[in-house]
Amino acid sequence: MPAVLEVKDLILYYRTRRGVVRAVDKISFILEKGQTLAIVGESGCGKSSTANAIFRLLPRNVHRYEGQVLINGEDTMKLDDETYRKKIRWQKISMVFQGAMNSLNPVLKVGFQIAEPLMIHKGVDKKEAIEKAKEALKLVGIHPSFVERYPFELSGGMKQRVCIAMALITEPEIVILDEPTSALDVITQANIMNLLKKLQWEKNLSYIFITHDIPLTSELADYVAVMYAGQIVELSPAAAFYKEPKHPYAFRLMASVPTLRSRKELDFIPGRPPDLAKPPPGCRFHPRCRRAMDICKKEEPPVVEIAPGHYVKCWLYAK
């Protein structure tokens, strides 16, 4: 059986005044049914662009948009925008956006907003759709009577739950979570994580979980992908990754994460990520890498599978 989502050599470049920005540069990964792939990286590394490329929410200044996005073996990149909108988006795959709680329409009732994708994409009539919205609210732990409320009557955590309900109402197989809790407090965040776990267990959902918070990925991730300057530099089973990341960037990123329960010596990475309009030649991390060799400055490193399912894009591991 094919994986629920397979991404092959996905490219998304933007055209800007400074030149072509290579936000997503040949990204490949596989997401199995019922599993979670966490994508981590610093701001501007292309994680949200990756999500938008898969969900095909593109700005007007796209320069190049290529590669394969296979959902259950079917290449959605071959579909035109209209077919994608009708058959894939919100049906097979849905998304909870960053700061989603502020993306609710303030003048529409919560129930209607949750029900809307059903009415548009599945042709369900309004009465039935609102009933379904009540069920969806129950599912995310909000009393069904809240269908009659407006967003301003809800707290931040509840609004985020509403957005999750909205993403789930069309019963998609894949949910992209783009920083779903970054504007929330830690206790509310833990509550939302609990909810996402329960939903995944009950409905066998597959998640792409995008975040900058490495400890938080451990709440959901089966696999962790680390992005740097538009590329995945390491894709690893979660347990191996938390033990010791192999790519020099991933390793030092991990070393910069403060832990609560144990005290360790913290490190930081001097310098800053490169400008994606003019990425350095060779490995994009080489100007900041302590272990950079001559070859890193000239040639792009290959992706090496160092253990089953564990890929590193680095010359240190290439034979």
């Binding site: 707290s155 347990a239 994460v257 609560l260």
Partner: protein
Amino acid sequence: MAKLLEIKGLKKYFEIKKGFFSKPVFLKAVDGVSLEIKKGEAVSIVGESGCGKTTLGKTILRLYEPTGGKIVFEGRDITHEEAKNLMWYRRAASLVQQDPYGSLPSFFTIYKILEEPLIIHKVGTKEERREMIYKALEAVKLTPVDFFASKYPHMLSGGQMQRVCLARAIILKPKFIVADEPVSMLDASVRIEILKLMRELQEKMGVSFIYITHDLATTRYFSEKLMIMYAGKAVEKGPIEKVIADPLHPYTEALLNAIPDPEPENRKKIRHVPPGEPPNLVNPPPGCRFHPRCPRAMDICREKEPPEVKIGDRTVACWLYSEK
């Protein structure tokens, strides 16, 4: 160590509805917080958004006039001192804010940004000021100094801008700095750099720090003492390692339970955290403000506010630990 700053039962209410015929409505952002800071000591204040931690920091700096309580700095009561008599305090205490992008004037060069406080406080001649600016830039490791002094803020990265903010905060050689979420807008790899730098400044210059943050995990890398706030109140105070290893207040416990460390087992378990969200500070619940969410709430918690109890070198405001 000598006492530098003492605040006692500090209150700051914001009037959100003027009372003319009706009673005015207040938002009780800080409601009776006490804290002592010694010379050269770093204290972290942790709480969720809206718990009053930023208001507390600003009130301590007298950017707000307190509604009640007392602020004593080096033995001088400055609670209701007039602004024109506070110039010395502005020199002795400074602030680093959360957003480096918004707190630097975009049309000033870094040199001008750092010279401004010196001019306002009439410090030194032009030559002496130059010397001080270069020293401050060196202290925050923005070298080569000449290169950075002539830049404008937009030419720098977030981490570099925050270092300019730090340089501005230390240039008048203060005794005390309030750092309000200084790293929360920065990327993970830069955060530690700034925290380490702050720690270094604190140790070298003997400055006292209040580090305000929502991120409990970073506090142990910066300070020894911790104060946890909830809904305008201090619920627990004590040495960080002890608080983290053995939280006394149920809220502290909930906060610790909510924060994951990177462990692969996390995804298989549900975290024990209380449902709901912090109360509205216009109309906080009676008794203990945490009682509606507290798994260990008793009858008395709903009626009477818990007093602060001293347990060794720690303080906790919870009925579980006090005589009823």
